[in-house]
């Protein structure tokens, strides 16, 4: 879902940088609370893993593919604010080094995948964990949270390209088109994310912290 250069007009590109910045500033600031010496290896491994996963597209139907975003997955382990930092760094490296996602669209791509996907996915995950106790709640939360996070990111992306004067069609065409493919791609995201979390629950469940309010319990991580 990486928007390349040339999809968004100048006004929209700039607006999206402003919108992203409005989320970046408080998120980068709040991430401070969650980042400690103990969880640096976890943040590094998770972010590098999501980078690798984003390289690997899985086929869906009709000659189309999708790949993991990993926003919900990272937020489950680190909390939503460090997840914004992680995803933004992935997008920056992809744009600067690998030409994936245009630099003029970095604001839009960050807003979609590092902000909307992270916050919506984590919010749904947190709510479901409140409703369903135990490991079942964790896995269900990750599954549904991941699914919704991709759909909302695709909705945002559809709105952006639909509002862009470069696209010959408006949001009434671009939004349904984006949603059509991403409702399916989102199942891939949900399956991969919940499978990874299920494996971690079995092997090293202390890596998955409880949720408190709109964050994880920071002091919990008994990382060994």
């Amino acid at each position: 879902m990486h928007i390349p250069d040339g999809f968004l007009d100048a006004a929209l590109s700039i607006s999206m940088f402003i919108l992203a910045a409005l989320a970046w500033a408080p998120s980068f600031y709040k991430a401070n609370k969650n980042i400690s010496e103990k969880n640096i290896p976890l943040m590094a491994v998770l972010t590098a893993g999501v980078f690798a996963a984003q390289m690997l597209n899985f086929p869906i139907i009709g000659g189309t593919s999708g790949h993991l975003i990993g926003a919900t997955l990272i937020a489950v382990f680190l909390g939503p604010f460090p997840a914004v930092v992680s995803l933004t760094i992935i997008l920056l490296i992809q744009g600067l080094v690998f030409g994936d996602g245009g630099l003029t669209a970095l604001g839009a791509n960050s807003f979609n995948m590092a902000v909307i996907a992270v916050f919506s996915g984590f919010l749904v995950y947190a709510l479901i964990r409140k409703l369903i106790p135990g490991d079942k709640g964790v896995i269900t939360g990750v599954f549904i949270g991941s699914w919704i996070s991709v759909i909302l990111a695709a909705l945002a992306c559809g709105l952006e390209i639909g509002l862009s004067s470069i696209f010959p069609y408006g949001v009434e065409v671009t939004v349904p088109a984006m949603l059509f493919w991403h409702v399916i791609i989102a199942f891939g995201e949900a399956l991969i994310s919940s499978a990874i979390v299920a494996v971690v629950l079995k092997t090293n469940s202390s890596l998955i912290p409880p949720v408190k309010g709109f964050n994880i319990v920071v002091e919990y991580s008994s990382l060994k």
């Binding site: 040339g6 640096i40 590098a48 030409g99 992306c157």
Partner: protein, 99 residues
């Protein structure tokens, strides 16, 4: 101030698993357009020249072989991502200790 960042066993194993999965899945990955590319294609919108020429475009380095070229690019990306995260986290910790 001395920062102690050590990689525990689970982190090393996870990193090895990530690299292994990358190696295994590269030949299996789909070359079909992704959801957004597909929508743009259908609506007749083409990408413009990028404003920045990335050193490793499309996750591929031409060093002989599709798999090797993509795997090498992937390894560079994984190492770079981990390094940037460690760097940024250390900046966070320094900022924290000063404030």
């Amino acid at each position: 101030m001395v920062l102690k960042v050590s990689f525990p066993r689970w982190a090393k194993i996870s990193l090895a698993v990530i690299i292994l999965l990358l190696a295994v899945f590269i030949p299996l990955a789909s070359a079909f357009p992704d959801g957004l590319e597909r929508v743009a294609e259908t609506l007749g919108v083409v990408e413009s020249e990028p404003v920045w020429h990335a050193p490793i475009p499309d996750y591929f380095i031409n060093i002989g072989g599709d798999w090797l070229g993509t795997f090498t690019a992937g390894l560079i990306g994984v190492a770079l991502t981990a390094a940037v995260i460690i760097g940024v986290s250390i900046l966070y910790l320094k900022f924290k200790k000063h404030s």
